[in-house]
Amino acid sequence: MIEHSRELLARLRSFFRKRERDEDFDAEIATHLEMLIQENRQRGMSPEGARRAALISIGGMEQAKELHRDNRSLPQLETFAQDIRYALRTMRNNPGFTSVAVLSLALGIGANTAIFSLIDALLLRSLPVRNPQELVQVQMTMPGAPTPSSFSYPLVRALSDQSEIFSGVCGFSNDVFDTGRREAPEPVTGTWLTGACHEMFGLVPVAGRLLTREDDRPGAPSVVVISDTYWESRFGRDPSVIGGQLAISGVAATVVGVSPRSFTGATIGEVSHIAVSIGSMARALPDRSSLLEASARWLQVLARPHHGVSREQITARLAVTWPSLVSVAIPDSMAASRRRQMTSTINVIPGGTGWSSLRLRFSQPLVVLMAVVALILLIACANIANLLLARATGRRREIAVRLAIGAGRTRLVRQLLTESILLSLSGAILAIALASFGSRFLVAMLSSGQESMIVLDLNPNWRVLGFITSMAFGTALAFGIVPALQATAIGPTHAITGTSVRITGSRSRLGAMLVTAQVALSLLLVIGAGLFLRTLQNLRSLDPGFRRDGVLLVEVNGRKLGYRGPQLTAFYHELLQEMEALPGVASASFSFTTPVGKGQVSQRIAVSGQSVPNEETLVNLIAPRFFETLHTPLIAGREFTPGDTATAQGVAIVNQAFVRRYFQGVQPLGQHLSIVGQANAGMQVVGVVQDAVYESLREPPPPTVYAPFSQRGGNSRAVFEIDTRGSLAQLVASVRARIQPKSPGSPIRIGTLTGQIESSLVQERLMAALAGCFGVLALLLAAIGLYGLLAYSVARRSSEMGIRMALGAERRQVLWMISRDAIKLLLGGVALGLPAALAASRLVSSMLFDLTPSDPATMLAATALLMFAGLLAALLPAYRASRVDPMVALRYE
């Protein structure tokens, strides 16, 4: 062992002192030679004879030196260094080829890395907590629900009591807290936490202490923990802040400590600066006390099971205790909801990567995009392979000569691959820069239209670096191995015989195969782009049942101002009058929620004379003139009027879907409805409106009941809708000037209905934009590939063209000959690409809207586009072929 490492070290030293050792040995072997010559001379040989004999005895000076070198140094490493030097020289000598290859690789690998970084940040990265791999996330999926629900605070408490399963249970949810003075509040993103969270994560405070279970008890003093970043940026790391007071929505809380810098909350995509204990603060803040109730389902759950308890065991144990757990947490008054939660499916999934609402929406798009950019990289690789094949033909002489003088084929293949790897690595290094730009751009794109900016940790980690490295080597092999094998597949005897050696048959067959594959892949991507573009177009041109443009939305939260019940409604009506009086307002109304907005509510609605349905119906609470403002046509009856006050007869308006569902063949007007489980909730139907989209553009309008805000509203924020006549910008300014002063300490939020709809389409826009860009890129790459192949074949066959034309072929015929080649290649690609596209598009069918995955129009248009681009690419080489001068071509040969 020691001998081996000693020898290796010595060899390594020799490797780095090559020249010194060479000179040393030159001197030594020269002495040896002289001694031999002298001896031979003493035996009476002639000077030349003595020298010759001496050289024979030694076995050749160069051979001796080579042998010496191999034995004292690291031959493999030396060969490798030689290969690298050689490759670098080749790259320098072909700047055009090198830059095209490196750039396209940089783009390809960069796009792949950008998307992979995003996938890594969103889905794969572990939270910076103690043993994140131990954490689990508990999910509750109600019967019939497509996605898991959130947990109520009492339910999380009940779950925390399962101490034989969990050592710690954390319920959390992000929120924006108004900190500082009431007059000029500063919104700061923070997290509501149950008391055990910090301890369960195993965090160590930077200063002070973190939240504990004690802080979660009713009656505990209000305390918060701030993040290290916030401590620095807001307070300049002032130690006196700890133990001091921080006002949150005007209520004083004590800052007890600072959480570690790396920890920015368990919600991926957002950065939390304030950790607030639910138990103490939700009671202290007047408008948040409802968060403690069993009806508010708003928390996510991460938990740390006891050591050695598997996820299967947790699931099994929870399945047993779940019903009793729910019955303890949820009061009798909520019987229906309790039953649904009791019969929910409980899933326990790994929780080390935290939780994110973005996963549900962006996991599939990101995986699809990953596949798209991987295909782009493949197309780019095919281009480089084709260029290398073409160049190998040019280097055939050189390679044949090297084979002839004894270079092994493996050695040559290794050398050519070294060049490929160097190209890929240079591309990969550029790609790192491109990727960091690209992934930030992507995050900005995801963020557009979101309430808060998405913040993801995109710093490269070992996983991303590993990804880039394997990409670099993978692409080098992908585009390098075939040309390298091809280039060295010539007998040494061929080479010397000169230009007449042609292995072009197999070379162009290979090239044609590559181009066909490129065409097929790019057709796949163009079709994908087409499908996503049409999806977005379909959604944008869909008639939602209301006016999309020119409607201003103003959100006001009167509860934060202390209004309750009838005063709250009165306050909103007063604001409404102010708004209606503003110049440029055609009509205005307000409601609990807006189409495609947040905070949808559904309740069980009973129709008198019918059995109580099991499913819930969407309900919106609206003010008079709501439908007029949104331009939703009234089919029958009337809108609500100021006369529909809290004390008047309860009324309701239903949409056509509701009529179809419950009033088949019955006159809906005058029918009676009631909200199940609510007293005095009888309503008479006074109007029917046309269907309008409610939660999402993608879903057909569901049965919906509208009730007057004044009768059922009471305790919530309100969103005002303003139908504008003039300029939106002017109206925004006057709304801000007139309405904001009425809402001191609680900023009003102004947006447009168009903006709200666009932000609900962020996934579709992302896919359309990126798939569109990549589709164009794929088309371009395939066209370049086709052009390259044809141009090369035209150049190679110029003498053939010359002969044909000398024999009387017309330009037109030559033009057709080349175009025919192109069409053959394109049709081959289409034949492969269409079935592939049909198969692949089925995988994304859930992301499409109002079209089948095999949408014939898209398929046809994409194929036509591809053929057009391909023929355009073929035009120049074909034209050049037809311009060949027979004399020049023949003389050249």
Binding site: A27, I29, T31
Partner: protein, 116 residues
Amino acid sequence: MADKKLDLLQGTLDVMVLQTLSSMGPLHGYGVARRIEQTSGNQVLLNQGTIYASLVRLQQRGWIAAEWGTSDNNRKAKYYSITKRGTKQLATDTAHWARLTDVMARLLAPGGEDAK
């Protein structure tokens, strides 16, 4: 294939060089080569260049040491001498070769074990 032949030769040559240096004291490469040729009664057809491959290998393993010196007729030459560890290695190798040749001799002897 050429490599394999060399391997076999290498092992043999290394022992020969060690033994030569052990019995003759410091020698230059030419001296070692001549000595091996002489001792073997010119039966070994030695490609003298290969001596240096063996010498550098043994040196890097620390079994021999090298030093520039002056030859009898005033030429600059590199002199090799066996080290303490080289002597130890030579003992091991000698034992190994003795066993090997013994076995080979017995196996190849006419009327060997089988004939008994």
